[in-house]
């Protein structure tokens, strides 16, 4: 892929500044209150779902009530699900033309530069507003190659056998309470199938927007890469400002068949009014490869743990996660690698920056059970703390049973010291330049790990985020 001006991939400013206050847009259907069986059946009815999907939702609901609140979560108490809207169908018909999208809503996407980006680089785009996909389009060249990219709901109708085989099977709802909740309430998201040997070089993007407070978004992305295929998928999320907060509990399931390669990149830039829970898991078959990149910039609270099950021998996965906790916000992240076959490889690079009272938490898991011979895993976890009010915690968890496994873990916490700042000032750089240089230095390795255009965008994002940074603590 070649992008002449990679900064065009994201037109970045803080979402509060870029999108301003939320404008009310009428809903056609809105379901709120206590999450009961009848509410679930109502969603299923609105979506005209087959009976098996309704059953899957109800089974998930049962699990949701059965499973305990995860004890590692902090901050989620403020979420009162009984008062939230769990399904909001905006009064907008799904279209493949931006002209059909009402101006108030279209403007959000235009301000972020999504239609422009689509015209320049994307080979497919799916845009979701509240609980439903409102815009969806894929380039004909991909269609000709047999690539399927459709809203998740359409896939349930059109390809029930494929959906049944993968949906909530890569990430079972029994995993934890919020995965179960997602299973019960999921709505929107994209289904992608890449046929054997087909390479989708230019990225496909899905973009999610939550337009108002006290609302939940549960989009589901399922991506299946058949043998020896390749796909580059980008996911973006944002929200305008509102009073109160909203809840995002999305899920991404990836399946890389033998020899396939999936690159999945997320830029999360929710406004500070969103509690963001992300469920991301991939399965990699023999010699397949899954690369996660997560740039988690915005939101009030974020919980995100890209995970790969290395099921086939010779499969590999890399997860590069960058989190920024700027202000009184929390980022709880961590990559998980489950090596269940021989000769599997994983690499985790996690970098976090905490500033202005921000907190970053890393929880990683490396699991290498007996029999996963010659599995190799290395983890690098670095935290940069910019002042005394900010914190970073690291909780790596390694479960290694296989004696031939090779696992390395490096965790470091750094602070910008007065010594370093003075040193750079004494060279003639001003304080902002000095901090920028040290921050860019800290992230240097991250930029090497991710695709060029992603690195470029991240740099841009950070330059803007740190433009306004005050004195160092």
């Amino acid at each position: 892929m070649s992008i002449e001006k990679p900064e065009e991939l994201v037109r970045y400013r803080e979402p509060e500044e870029l999108l301003g206050f939320a404008k009310d847009y009428p809903a056609e259907v809105e379901l709120k209150g206590r999450i009961t069986e009848s509410l679930i059946r109502e969603i299923s009815k609105v979506k005209k779902e087959p009976e098996w999907m309704t059953r899957l939702r109800l089974k998930s609901l049962e699990l949701f009530y059965k499973l305990p609140m995860p004890n590692w979560l902090q901050g989620i108490e403020m979420l009162d699900l009984d008062t939230m809207a769990h399904y909001v169908k905006p009064d907008i018909e799904l279209s493949s033309s931006w002209d059909d999208i009402p101006k108030e809503v279209r403007e959000y996407y235009e301000k972020i530069g999504i239609p422009e980006l689509e015209a320049k680089v994307l080979h497919g785009l799916s845009a979701q507003y509240e609980s439903e996909t409102i815009y969806h389009k894929m380039k004909k060249s991909l269609e000709d190659k047999g690539v399927v990219m459709i809203p998740m709901e359409e896939a349930v109708q059109k390809y029930p056998d494929i959906v049944k085989r993968y949906f909530l099977r890569i990430f079972p709802p029994s995993d934890h309470k919020f995965a179960a909740l997602h299973g019960a309430l999921w709505s929107g998201g994209v289904f992608v199938y890449v046929p054997k040997g087909v390479r989708v070089e230019a990225p496909i993007e899905a973009f999610f927007l939550i337009g108002r407070a006290f609302e939940s978004q549960f989009e589901h992305t399922l991506l299946i890469a058949d043998e020896n295929s390749y796909i580059y998928f980008i996911e973006g999320c944002t929200a305008p400002m509102y009073k109160g907060f909203s809840f995002h509990d999305g899920m991404v399931e990836l399946y890389a068949h033998r020899g396939a390669h999936i690159r999945f990149t997320t830029f999360q830039n929710w406004s500070k009014h969103v509690i963001n829970f992300n469920n991301k898991r991939a399965i990699a078959e023999e010699n397949a490869r899954v690369d996660w990149v997560e740039g988690s910039i915005g939101s009030m609270l974020t919980y995100v743990y890209p995970s790969t099950v290395l099921r086939g021998k010779g499969s590999s996965s890399r997860s590069v996660v960058f989190t920024l906790a700027k202000g009184p916000y929390l980022k709880d992240s961590g990559s998980k690698m489950f090596h269940v076959a021989p000769n599997t490889k994983s690499r985790i690079v996690n970098k976090s920056i905490s500033v202005d009272g921000g907190i970053n938490v890393y929880r990683g898991v490396i699991r290498i059970p007996y029999g996963a011979r010659n599995a190799v895993s290395n983890v690098e976890c670095e935290s940069l703390i910019l002042d005394d009010k900010s914190y970073a915690y690291t909780y790596p968890h390694n479960q290694i049973e296989e004696p031939t496994a090779s696992v390395s873990h490096e965790a470091t916490t750094m602070r910008l010291t007065e010594d370093q700042i003075f040193y750079l000032l004494s060279r003639g750089l001003d304080e902002d330049d000095a901090k920028n240089l040290l921050i860019m230095g800290f992230l240097d390795e991250l930029f090497i790990e991710v695709p060029f255009e992603v690195a470029h965008v991240l740099k841009k994002v950070l330059e803007i985020e740190f433009e306004k940074l005050g004195g160092v603590g």
């Binding site: 750079l424 000032l425 060279r427 003639g428 040290l438």
Partner: protein
């Protein structure tokens, strides 16, 4: 020209400098010698304007104007360079990132002008050779895993690359072998010939075997207690600092 007038400096409520007078003129090498904890590094930091080094009395002038109100970066851009005694490691920040950034800032070239980097790197390469480093050092993270001597060489390289008018060198020869010390002397001499004023701060007069200073001062307990030429350095070397006050 740099001029320090009756300078009193307090650090953490303790008075360290108690009335220091000093002049560094273009093309001159001025040495400040003294025992440890005599206030030498404090003098360097105070001239540079480091936070926590409070000037309670006196003045620091650059070309006749007080610089007390200026921050360290502004003083630096005026043309004062300080090579610190213990340069801190800058993890991730390679020389090839730092040096062009500093030079762009000093010349007013926008930071995002990446083409300027290439030109600047080409331009400074010969200066790296002058201090005995090869170009691979530009690809290394600044002061990370550097030996004491490598740090000193890289500091001296920056002093050359940034082209200041006044160069303050705080213990530039520590950690270097005899050949290294000779190199430092040669570089200082070149700076002097190029019209730069050099303020050399040192505990150990070893460097002065290879270069003749224009002025030597002995700083003890926050005051300059002796001023002269090379003879002062020779006296210190023979008798030690203990004898200086009583002479």
């Amino acid at each position: 020209m740099l001029e320090v007038k009756d300078l009193h400096v307090t650090v953490e409520e303790k008075e360290i400098l108690k009335g220091v007078n000093l002049k560094v003129e273009p093309g001159k090498l001025v040495v400040v010698m003294g025992p440890n904890a005599g206030g030498k590094s404090t003098l360097a930091y105070a001239i540079m304007g480091r936070e926590g080094y409070e000037v309670t009395k006196g003045d620091i002038l650059f070309n006749g104007e007080s610089i007390l109100e200026l921050g360290p970066d502004e003083r630096s851009r005026l043309g004062i360079f300080l090579s610190v005694q213990e340069p801190p490691p800058l993890p991730g920040v390679k020389g090839s990132l730092l040096v062009p950034a500093v030079i762009k800032k000093r010349r007013g070239i926008p930071m995002d002008d990446k083409f300027a980097d290439i030109k600047i790197l080409r331009e400074v390469r010969p200066k790296l050779e002058l201090v005995g480093l090869d170009s691979s050092y530009m690809g290394r993270e600044v002061n990370v895993g550097f030996s004491g001597g490598e740090k000193k060489r890289f500091e001296l390289f920056q002093a050359l690359a940034y082209d200041p008018k006044i160069v303050i060198l705080d213990e530039p020869d520590s950690g270097l072998d005899v050949d290294g010390v000779k190199m430092v002397a040669r570089v200082i001499d070149d700076m002097r010939k190029n019209g730069k004023g050099v303020l050399l701060i040192t505990h150990n007069p070893r460097l002065l075997h290879f270069i003749t200073p224009d002025e030597v001062n002995v700083l003890i307990d926050g005051k300059i207690v002796m001023t002269g030429g090379l003879d002062v350095a020779e006296f210190v070397e023979t008798h030690g600092y203990d004898k200086v006050v009583t002479r």
